[in-house]
Symmetry: C2
Subunit: 207 residues, 2 copies
């Protein structure tokens, strides 16, 4: 476990903040939920001394792929999503399987979901999927000069349509509320400036 | 439920894609897990005709607040996170409580977690927290000209330090892997251009 790196403590009235680590009192395995193994952790708040029960979803790491064609178009997938019960537009993504590196998972997911391949991969970094309750990371990849070289091979739980969007079409799909998956949007924002006009004008050039 | 808007079907070999809706066969309530009420949905894949069991986490909506001071600094919170078991740097965020609007939740969370307030609020839009298994939305707000007007009032499950970061410090904290919460990063990316130098050079000016 990495060391907590809290070093900036507000001088304006945050004297209550303790800067002490939280102690794990005990852990208990919870139900298994298809995508997650659940765990309950009892942790002691250093500020109050009291323990509370927290839910942790243990999950394998995930990958997201921003795939760009030689013409500068983004490969997007149209996919039914079980959580929202709606069809969304996203980017290729999936789970890092056992024995895979994140890059191997990115290559495989792009190929399986879309049939596109490339040899030009760039790592955009990892993010915490949701540190409040998930213990995993999501790895973000940029795949450049991707070309459709084979038929897609969707999983049993997928029914996926693929298309290529220009950056203008990506922006329009965001404006139309068709691209709303937070992890897909975040990966795209690492490659393209997706801010609204007013933020671009107001906050550009700040340091 | 909104209408699925899949209209771009790839002509290059995606003939297997059906463009039909998924049918909900049946639902069953699962265990309650502190932050979520779980539900199992059996849904029929229109491509294969076979049903599969999906996990849905029912959760209230969330809010994220990008709070900027009159000097252009971002208000960040240093907070222990139960999912990763680590202290991260994030932006003020929380749950929309029953009876609250997303904006009321944003105002309250900023005040409770940091003691900062303002009257200048701008909605940055909502995103799907994770449409694969969560049914909720995360609302993103920009709070401008925020000023520390009172002491923070942390919850029983919080021990929060507050500080102000310049955009350069935000970028450095991202580079140092101290800001990694996907929803916090996404909200920040709606206000600031957080791309790396190579992506900024390569993909700026594309349409």
């Amino acid at each position: 476990m990495r060391q907590a790196r809290v070093s900036f403590v507000d001088a304006l009235g945050m004297s209550e903040y303790t800067e002490k680590p939280w102690q794990l009192v005990r852990s208990e395995q919870g139900p298994s939920l298809i995508l997650f193994q659940t765990r309950f952790d009892w942790v002691a708040n250093p500020r109050t001394g009291r323990s509370l029960k927290a839910i942790v979803l243990e999950a394998p790491d995930w990958v997201n792929v921003v795939a760009v064609t030689p013409e500068g178009k983004v490969v997007v997938v149209h996919q039914y999503r079980f959580g929202t019960g709606q069809t969304t537009i996203e980017i290729p993504a999936g789970i890092v399987e056992k024995g895979e590196t994140p890059q191997q998972a990115a290559i495989r997911e792009l190929k399986e979901e879309t049939g596109y391949t490339t040899t030009r991969w760039k790592y955009l970094g990892w993010v915490e999927s949701n540190p409040a309750f998930l213990n995993n990371h999501c790895h973000q990849w940029l795949a450049q000069a991707v070309v459709k070289t084979q038929a897609a091979e969707p999983d049993a739980n997928e029914d996926i349509a693929v298309s290529e969007f220009s950056l203008a079409e990506v922006r329009q799909a965001i404006a139309d509320e068709r691209i709303r998956n937070s992890l897909a949007l975040l990966a795209l924002s690492h490659v393209f400036d997706l801010r609204g006009d007013s933020e671009r004008e107001q906050f550009s050039g700040e340091k």
